[in-house]
């Protein structure tokens, strides 16, 4: 059985009568890369500060390694934070920065030297030990910040949007490096970001937070392909949302849907009842389009007009307006043997998707 390094039980946090976090229950597993994903102001950084001990919960309990840490100050918790701005000590060299935590624990000097040297090797900064933080690039500072926390062998490393200060290209490189570093170090990472692409590409599990509540916890694939709520679906990636109604069900899973006066077969991961109003979510890359002459049987297809064609190199994005004015986005991948991707603005096309690739969610207003 996998051990939980961090557990939150019924955690609430309010500030000035304003509820920031609402009934947070979360288990963080040993050695995993967990991402807290949500828009800015959703409470994800507060959640991180609760775990690190810089904030105390209004109610509820936090356990680190099975021990209730409520009331313990940051320096008595076995977790370390990599701050958004890195917060490297400007008056100390890279070596001194990294050695700071060990010195606070009164580790003997020879051991400090050895451990700092080891961690510097891991982050590939051996040659920079005597530099000041101001003499390093953003990416190098980032690595020093991680090394400074990792050298103390914390149970959990908390990372507060550590990549947001870097430019796009460096961010991509650092994403891969961070993931590799996490594997090498074998430390549990709790990573905070508002960037869904970052969350999906790096994490073992993603916690989607919206307005102070956990909306969904799952692997990147789960939260992307099987979003639990409309909020999760719209926050992560692009979606097309259709209002629909369940017409009939067959052992709960196989259902017949009515969308825009068309009847379609579909699969549902949750039980549905006939007559239920639902929202149907389809990712643009799952939407297929056909020219009118290509199709013989259009019983479960929707007719629409091409409004916009956006060429993106590897894909072509189409904006299609259906008969009832619903806007549908479709992403088509290039295929060497296929010349179907020639679409003209204003031309009539068929729109459809493979039954079973949609996600059926309860109706929300």
């Amino acid at each position: 059985m996998v051990k939980n390094v961090v557990e939150l039980r019924g955690v609430y946090k309010s500030l000035h009568d304003h509820e920031i976090l609402h009934d947070i229950n979360l288990e963080v597993r040993e050695g995993e890369f967990l991402t807290l994903l949500g828009p800015s102001g959703c409470g994800k950084t507060t959640l991180l500060r609760l775990i690190s001990g810089f904030e105390t919960p209004t109610s509820g309990n936090i356990f680190i390694d099975g021990k209730n840490v409520s009331g313990l100050p940051p320096h008595q918790r076995h977790v370390h934070t990599v701050f958004q701005s890195y917060a490297l000590f400007p008056h100390m060299t890279v070596f001194e920065n990294i050695a700071f935590g060990l010195r606070c624990q009164k580790v003997p000097l020879p051991e400090i030297k050895e451990r700092v040297a080891n961690v510097l090797r891991m982050v590939k900064l051996e040659k920079y030990a005597e530099r000041k933080p101001s003499q390093l690039s953003g990416g190098q500072q980032q690595r020093v910040a991680i090394a400074r926390a990792a050298v103390n062998r914390p149970r959990v490393l908390l990372l507060d949007e550590p990549l947001s200060a870097l430019d796009y290209r460096l961010r991509k490189t650092m994403q891969i490096e961070l993931k590799q570093l996490q594997r090498t170090l074998g430390i549990t990472f709790i990573f905070v970001t508002h960037d869904q692409e970052e969350a999906l590409s790096m994490s073992d599990r993603v916690v989607v937070i919206q307005e102070g509540c956990i909306e969904q916890v799952g692997t990147p694939r789960q939260v992307y392909e099987e979003p639990g709520t409309l909020k999760v679906a719209t926050f992560i990636g692009e979606v097309n949302i259709f209002a629909g109604e369940i017409m009939s069900t067959e052992n709960g899973k196989h259902v017949t849907l009515r969308i825009l006066d068309k009847l379609r077969k579909a699969k549902s991961t949750r039980p549905c009842t006939p007559g239920e109003k639902v929202h149907v979510v389809v990712r643009p890359e799952d939407v297929r389009v056909w020219n009118l002459h290509e199709v013989e049987d259009a019983t479960d297809m929707f007719t629409g007009t091409v409004e916009e064609v956006i060429y993106k190199g590897t894909t072509v994005d189409l904006i299609v307006r259906l008969a009832d004015n619903t806007i549908v986005a479709a992403t088509e991948f290039f295929d060497e043997d296929d010349d179907r991707l020639e679409y003209k603005i204003g031309s009539q096309i068929w729109v459809s998707w493979t039954p079973g690739w949609e996600v059926i969610l309860p109706h929300e207003d």
Binding site: F54, S85, A87, H91, A149, N152
Partner: protein
């Protein structure tokens, strides 16, 4: 952009001109004056001589120098001990009390420091407010003889110069990044370690600026020893004042000033050298 640059170079040259005219030039004149002689009719005259400096090597002068040094040093240290926590607390305050407290620091500047020094007499004299209070509370039965002692001089110096310690430190603490303190705590530092290893080194520029701003006037301010220290208490400032105004010996007074400046510059250089050396050593 171009006008911006013009403005920049213009304002910079104004500052340079100002510093040259009112700081560097007078200082050079003092050095030159200290190398001249004087007689009954002229304040300064040729021939050039080193005699003024040779006169300084006199046990009375050296004792006054030492005494001024000790009194100014203790006053600076006490200003630092009192001023640092005060500056730190004001700088980190979030509430509207912050500007009120800052106002309290600045209000004394609205009254002449001379008048405030006289006012101090009323507090510390034998039958003054301080002694009356201490006797009333039964802490002492005989009034403390504070007035006309070195203690009175130090009280006067600290009272008058404390804002000069508080203001630079406060500015420095305000610029201190809270995240660095958070990071230190996060890495396992307790309050004391955080203070010693992070806060003190990062506010060192403020501490040095404040100490210089206090120490220099403390050495040379002449009316505070005059008013509070009585006739016996002669400090370096009084010595320089006497040379210029009573003995009319400008070259001698200039020599005193020049030596004082030299000592202060040496102190600053020693500090720079020590901190640079410290950074190379490892701390534990």
């Amino acid at each position: 952009m171009k006008t911006d640059n013009h403005f920049k170079s213009l304002s910079l040259s104004v500052i340079w001109a100002w510093m040259f005219l009112f700081a560097l030039l007078p200082f050079c004149l003092v050095i030159i004056a200290s190398l001249m002689s004087h007689n009954e009719s002229d304040l300064i005259t040729l021939p050039t001589t080193l005699a003024n400096y040779q006169h300084l090597n006199n046990s009375t002068y050296i004792r006054i120098f030492e005494k001024s040094f000790v009194i100014a040093g203790i006053s600076t240290l006490l200003c630092l001990i009192i001023g640092y926590p005060f500056a730190y607390i004001i700088a980190r305050m979030q509430s509207r009390w912050k500007s009120f407290l800052l106002l309290l620091v600045i209000i004394p500047f609205w009254t002449s420091s001379l008048i405030r020094s006289y006012a101090l007499i009323a507090i510390i004299k034998a039958k003054g407010i301080l002694n009356s209070l201490l006797i009333a509370f039964g802490i002492i039965d005989q009034p403390l003889a504070i007035l006309f002692t070195n203690y009175a001089v130090m009280i006067g110096l600290i009272y008058n110069l404390l804002p000069f310690m508080i203001l630079p430190i406060m500015t420095n603490v305000e610029r201190l990044d809270q995240r660095l303190i958070d990071a230190a705590k996060d890495l396992g530092a307790n309050r004391f370690t955080t203070f010693r290893k992070i806060i003190i080194p990062l506010t060192m520029p403020g501490i040095i600026a404040g100490s210089i701003l206090v120490f220099l006037p403390a050495m040379t301010i002449f009316y505070i020893p005059d008013i509070l220290g009585g006739a016996k208490s002669i400090m370096l400032g009084n010595l320089i004042q006497n040379q210029f105004l009573i003995s009319q010996n400008w070259p001698m007074g200039s020599a005193f000033s020049a030596v004082l400046t030299l000592i202060l510059v040496t102190l600053i250089l020693v500090h720079v050298w020590v901190t640079r050396g410290n950074k190379k050593r490892e701390w534990l």
